[in-house]
């Protein structure tokens, strides 16, 4: 007598095994995220408050802040990023071992914020891939903690066995860009109540 499900039993076991491996790997990764703080502005003050005893993100396994990119898992860009620092943050990102994640903390890191001018990168996602955007100017520590927990949730949804959900490095192309130039222009366009201005003026 053939039992129901026997045909798929090997696949079923494999899937269960894969789930188990993913669970173990992802839990380990999510619960020991070592941050690499890249603090350039007032967001870094809130970041320090998040790290200090009142909010204490060590509760979520971020015990050790790695001021060395080679020992870090998540790059937290806290503050505005001028074009002069763009190659620096890209090099830091390239030096981090995989798997690596990026949190863009605050309005300036995410979109350029109020600094819609000649010197400022309009969102660090034109430089490095970003996993979690934390809005605010600057975000309160609760906001950053919420972003970190969202990143935990995202990490726990990843899979080693699924090409779509697996994390891959995003290298720069031959022009030295991460995104196509049209994409960068599109996402760097002014929005909201930004001053209307023509480039040719």
């Amino acid at each position: 007598m053939k039992r129901v499900g026997e045909v798929k039993s090997s696949n079923y076991l494999l899937a269960k095994f894969q789930d188990l491996v993913d669970w173990a790997v992802n839990s380990s990764r999510a619960n020991s995220l070592w941050p690499m703080p890249f603090g350039t502005a007032c967001c870094a003050i809130e970041f320090m408050a998040t790290a200090a005893s009142r909010y204490d993100f060590a509760r979520f396994g971020m015990e050790r802040q790695a001021f060395s990119p080679r020992q870090a898992d998540v790059l937290i860009c806290a503050g505005r990023l001028p074009f002069k620092l763009a190659p620096v943050i890209r090099r830091i990102y390239d030096q981090m071992p995989q798997p690596k994640w990026v949190i863009s903390m605050g309005a300036c890191a995410s979109t350029g914020g109020v600094f819609d001018n000649y010197a400022m990168v309009q969102g660090i996602d034109t430089i490095v891939p970003v996993d979690v955007y934390v809005p605010g100017c600057p975000p309160r520590p609760e906001g950053l903690l919420y972003g970190i927990l969202l990143l935990h949730k995202k990490i726990k949804g990843e899979s080693l066995f699924d090409a779509v959900r697996r994390r891959e490095e995003q290298p720069l192309d031959d022009k030295g860009l991460r995104l196509a130039p049209e994409t960068i222009d599109e996402i760097s366009e002014p929005f909201g109540n930004s001053v209307h201005q023509f480039r040719s003026s």
Partner: protein, 188 residues
Amino acid sequence: MARDGERIVYVARERLLDAMTWLKDTPGQEFNYLVDVTAVEFRDRERPIEVVYFLRSLERRADIRIKVELQPTEELAVDSVWSLWHGADWLEREVYDMFGITFRRHPDLRRILMWETYGEGYPLRKSFPLRGRFSRAEQVRQALNANPEAHYSMEELSIAEAAGDIPEDMRDRLRRGERGVIPEPPAP
């Protein structure tokens, strides 16, 4: 007199260094502290660009402002006051970076805030668009292809303390601002 009660003196461009030397060295003046150097370009394009020097006498507790008017039609250049106040070094570099005003006989006149290969012009000029001349994609491309170490001269990096020991020709080369070549260590 300015509205805040400070004294403003307009000086002709050719006489700037003489006037500054007089202000610094004459007893009774003794303006021995250069507070700031900056420049002003007015919205009215007809008005000249002003280079403003803020001087202070620490002993007399007196302030004075010196202004030099530069017509936009002629060459934007004044004499450097570095020989009087060495603190003018970076201040004049910043004015050069932001306004494109050349300071003659400055020891090391190059950009200080923007990177040295910055090609969009002088950002604080009225003719400069707020978001820069290039598209955002081009700005990102140039920024990512920049070499972060190239922003600093070798003097500012590792060999600053050894500047007296390096050969004369190398020192000249560094002074001229040629960068990007790390000198070979001498043979033992």
